[in-house]
Amino acid sequence: MITGALIFSAITITPILAGTISKRREKEINPVITNHVFGLVVACLLVLTTIFISLRYGSLQISWATAWNALFDYDPTNQGQIVVRELRWPRTILGLAAGSCLAVAGALTQGITRNPLGAPGILGVNAGAAFAIVTAIYAADIVTPEGYVWFSFFGAAAAAILVYSVAHVGSGGATPVKLALAGVIVTALLGGWTTSLLVLDQETLDEARFWLAGSIASRGTEEIAVLFPFIIIGLIMGVALGRQINILNLGEDVAASLGQRTNFVRTIAGVVVILLCGSAVAIAGPVAFVGLAIPHMVRSLVGPDYRWILLYSLLLGPCLLLGADVVGRIAVRPDELQVGIVTAAVGAPFLIYLVRFTKLSEV
């Protein structure tokens, strides 16, 4: 417990201290990676490494050999191999899926809202899913993963649609500022109702609090398998929207004069965000900052071209999510920290660093 607290504090405080002590000037965005074949190969290698780390590390000590054999030379009697195959492998798959979805959705949100602080959470997705789940638990006693999946998916979608509709009122359609404002209110509103339900019924609270922490543990892949078509479609469409987002980012007037139907593109992107976020939240619960941090880091590596930002986000998102999950497994061994907690703990200092040391457009 003490070690956990120490690690936790270290992760949190270091970036803030580093940021305040160093005297860096405001950074220009200069792409570091221009050779994308090289870059993508490195990214894929990173993903594979992360997968192996995820299989190898955890509360139970497993050797590399055991992990390798669990996948390719399965021996059902070896306890270590069972853990890898039955627990960690599904967990890794879920982490990959959720990580990619969140990162790509985050990049898309930043592209649509033209706001470097865009994260899927601002569109009310997390709050909507949470409210739907808590209502389901309260009113209908749903406690199984299959049940959760559909409720959170549709809750997320409903909230995002509400945000979008409110932002759409008035001239100009759903402009970035109006989207952000509407998102904040809907999130606060749904959050208030969710808290009320949690407070009214102790059993609901007991059941919901683990889901609300954001976790990829103890969920099987079969139940979530229904979402895989959505995820695949969402990811493909998301990456394919890269070129359109580039044009959208030239500004409303310029994009329109280049012949783009900006509202249509934003709507399609919005639908993709809903698909991806809805799935991610259904799989892992509300996990913060992956959608915010990955696109930023990617952008500082590959520059402002969204075709590459989306692709690299797809690959690097899982690395962050699984990485956070592994940290959660080790930090307070033999207990676990939920992945949502770790990402928030790491993401916050990152955000503060961004604010202090880079130029951000006005919110």
Binding site: G192, V199, A344, I352, V363
Partner: protein, 376 residues
Amino acid sequence: MNSLAIITPSIQSSIAVITGLLITVALIRLGDQIHPRFLTIRTRRLSGLVQTKVIWLTIGTLLAIIFLIGVGLVVGDYPIPASEALATALWDRNGEYDFIINSLRFPRIVVAILTGMCFASSGLIFQSLINNPLVSPDIIGINSGAAVCAVIILAAGGNIGYLPWAAFLGAILTAGLIYVLSWKRGISATRLVLVGIGINALLGAVITFITVRYPIERVVAAARWQAGTLFGASWDDVRTLSIGLAVLLPTAFFLTNRLRILQLGDETAITVGSTIERDRLALLTVASLLAALAVAVVGPLGFVALIVPQAARLLVGTVTGGVLIFTALLGGFFLLGADLIAQRLFAPVMLPAGVITATFGGPYFLYLLARYNRAT
């Protein structure tokens, strides 16, 4: 759990709520008819300019509060005849209703008014400083700072007596941290909001951590605190709040002028002789202290600090000292009303007041936003 009980409010309370809304609308209409618009006050030592509308609205709100106090004393699980209720509250300590009135209802009523005043005035200062209708004291971490401390104490089973002090300290320290982290040759509203988001998320992670690791019975108490409730309000709370308000509200009143100058933008403010960073710091401090005080006593009753200043602005326009007083009283009225509704609407189930503020506040806010969008 019988879900149906939740959905059917009693007829009596529904009528009360609707009547209240109608009266409010009528008052608003009346307010627009008042002339002359300004009143000059000049004595030997002081001079000032007051909007007559503000004077009338303030008096009206004060009367409304007194009316609600009466309602609150009389109405409840044990209805008490009005004359007896007033007698017991004001002078007769030995009546048969003494416990209900003087230990349960009266302190709760007064705490509702005082915390409403704190929240509303704090929200007004934040919204005027940051010139954004969606801003509330929460952006500077008051709610999450207080929540972290409160949740730790409740979950870990610490001494409940320390709870308000710990919550207050947590709120203030968090506000200070956010302020320091967003300071870069001065304070910009954007940086403040962003750093606030980061710190709030961080503290949220800590709260989540505690929520999943402690036994459920403890966690329920923590969750209940986080919803914001006036249950268990005592005369000690009244004393703390009164002292705090007595110091902070007049200070805020005298700082209103500097606030009005800051609203003109940094460049103009400097040229009319404002010391912008010092003034901003002073105003943020007073506003944070007001909010922290209220949150420490009743938990994060969000939305009061968000909606009430907006409503006040719709009625009276830009901020002045008088508007500050009016907004504070309006906040007291609103929270008292919300608490009474929360207690009686779905009787005998008692909801936390935070539910009512969220339920009415949220849709009202979406409506405000849609209207604002349509107009621009």
